[in-house]
């Protein structure tokens, strides 16, 4: 009888100590994340500082650029934007109807829906070099050369599962009462999906698109064999196209220190672009949801 309060006291103390230990652990892990990000940004920016000139983003490589002469990587910046925008649009056109079908036409516990989700998850996990090899094979059979078109299609395949599953997850969260409200006004499935569900998930959709864009922008392996590389701006779907990841790769391979610095400058530019997209995803996700039902 007398012991009980005592042991309760000890237990309370032990719990408090445990609590504090976990608190410390979480703090350490959170700071590690921040330190890591700052370290990467710091080192890359530091390394690239000597090469970071405005001509980097306003000019294409001149003669002797890879030996340290004048020029920039405008070709890769524009090329990356072209190929990623195209690929994301392509992936969206394929993914969106499929995801709508999954969420409004199939039953919630449909075996088909589960199978499709499983396959998308597997596709998500496949490394992009495999997509690159697949795209390369496709090119060979179709007698296509490495081009913006081939790279775009391959990159679209990489982005497709990311886009589809992200949108799918936000659509699954749409309350069934909301759909029922539309149905009970006499809306068809199609009308309910396009006019109500899509509006409800609009912020999520934009976020998913931006995440896919970011992923596409940074992917090197899928475009390595399929998109080729060029020092000029690409103006046709059938021309090869330069991309930032490959620009980094080629310049880093150079024995000239000036060129290596430019590789870091290219990396800094790519990182800033992705950072901007991430921030935009955050911002838009928050501000487009004006009409969303919580």
């Amino acid at each position: 009888m007398l012991r009980q309060p005592l042991s309760a006291d000890i237990r309370l103390k032990r719990r408090k100590r445990l609590d504090r230990a976990f608190h410390c652990l979480m703090l350490i892990s959170a700071s590690l994340v921040v330190i890591f990000l700052l370290l990467i940004l710091g080192i890359i920016l530091g390394k690239s500082l000597p090469a970071l000139k405005i001509s980097m983003i306003t000019r294409t490589p001149g003669t002797g650029y890879y030996l340290g002469q004048e020029g920039g990587i405008l070709n890769a910046i524009v090329g990356s934007m072209e190929i990623t925008t195209g690929a994301t649009l392509l992936a969206l056109i394929i993914a969106l109807p499929g995801v709508i079908f999954l969420n409004t036409y199939l039953k919630k516990k449909s075996a088909w829906a589960e199978l499709i989700r499983l396959m998308l998850d597997i596709l998500w996990g496949i490394p992009s070099i495999v997509y690159g090899a697949f795209g390369f094979l496709l090119m060979l059979t179709l007698h296509l050369r490495a081009s913006l078109l081939a790279g775009m299609v391959t990159l679209a395949l990489v982005e497709l599962p990311i886009l589809a599953r992200s949108v799918d997850e936000t659509m699954r969260l749409v309350p069934s009462e909301l759909k029922e409200a539309a149905f009970s006004l006499g809306a068809s499935r199609w009308q309910t999906a396009t006019r109500v569900v899509l509006r409800q998930v609009f912020p999520g959709l934009i976020t998913a698109i931006l995440i896919a864009l970011g992923r596409g922008l940074g992917d090197a392996a899928s475009v390595l064999f399929t998109a080729g590389y060029t020092d000029r701006l690409t103006t046709s779907l059938l021309q090869p196209v330069a991309t930032l990841p490959l620009a980094i790769f080629f310049q880093l391979n150079s024995p000239f220190p000036e060129v290596q610095q430019r590789a870091f400058a290219s990396a800094a530019i790519l990182t800033l672009m992705i950072l901007a997209i991430s921030l935009a995803a955050r911002f838009l996700g928050r501000h487009l949801g004006r009409h969303r039902i919580k």
Binding site: K107, K108, K109, P175, S176, E177, L178, K179, E180, A181, A182, F183, S184, L185, G186, A187, S188, Q191, R195, V196, R199, Q200, R290, H291, R292, I293, K294
Partner: protein, 253 residues
């Protein structure tokens, strides 16, 4: 001629999987009056309402047997277009569920999907039904604001306006005041009383006093069975069945 009522149910059974929740319901809903369905929670009132506009079609595990005649036609017949059935019956649910769009767009949604395109006409419809639901004066200056910014009581009246805007003949109301404060509840009740002249109303409630205030006819549902149905004055004051009596005196709830 015998009046069969606007809606007649004939031997309606509803199952969720193997679980039967409505048992052999037969019922005639009279036109231009308020028929109130009372009964303890879980007895199948919401399920019954969702049979009327075939919303149970969207519930995967639900199965409906029997016939529901609407002006003599079985709405469960295979050739019937379910969207047309629903267009003729407005549903006001327990929790107001506004659509993720502006106040104006919420009311315009129904008329638009049913083919109305003329901007002037839509403007007119929106104003007309917001007035009818008693909401116009409160929202006329902020029609383009998100509907989700309205108070919960205003949202329920917006749902009423939205339902009315598709010009239904029947209004199905599932405990439409249960999420509202007393003032808003009174407001919605007042609208319903005004509307019964032109509409046939089926109202589910578990508030007996509300049934007394609004009902022309009362149906008492208990454990999935229709125990008693008749004019409100009879069922609420001198019920025939001991179970109805027990419910009305508050012995079962």
């Amino acid at each position: 001629m015998v009046d069969h009522g606007r809606i007649s149910l004939k031997g309606v059974n509803v199952f969720y999987g193997k679980n039967q929740v409505l048992k052999d319901i037969s019922l005639n809903i009279p036109a231009h009056s308020i028929t109130v369905i009372i009964g303890p929670s879980g007895c199948g009132k919401t399920t019954l309402l969702k049979c009327f506009n075939r919303l149970l079609d969207e519930v995967e595990e639900a199965r409906v047997e029997g016939e529901i005649l609407f002006d003599g036609q079985n709405i469960y017949a295979p050739e019937v277009d379910v969207t047309q059935v629903r267009k003729r019956m407005g549903l006001l649910s327990q929790k107001p569920q506004v659509l993720p769009m502006s106040i104006y767009e919420n009311v315009a949604f129904g008329p638009r999907i049913h083919g109305l395109q003329n901007k002037k006409k839509i403007d007119h419809v929106v104003e007309k039904y917001l007035r009818l639901a008693g909401l116009w004066d409160e929202v006329k200056a902020r029609l383009s604001e998100p509907a989700s910014r309205l108070s919960i009581g205003q949202q329920q009246r917006l749902c009423l306006a939205r339902g009315l805007a598709v010009e239904p003949e029947i209004l199905l109301c599932d405990e439409p005041t249960s999420a509202l404060d007393p003032q808003s509840s009174r407001n919605v009740e007042a609208q319903l009383l005004r509307l019964k002249e032109n509409y046939t109303i089926v109202l589910v409630t578990h508030i007996l006093r509300q049934a007394r205030r609004l009902a022309d006819y009362v149906a008492f549902l208990y454990l999935g069975e229709l125990i008693e149905f008749g004019p409100a004055s009879e069922v609420l004051t001198s019920p025939q069945d001991p179970r109805t009596r027990a419910y009305i005196t508050g012995e079962i709830s």
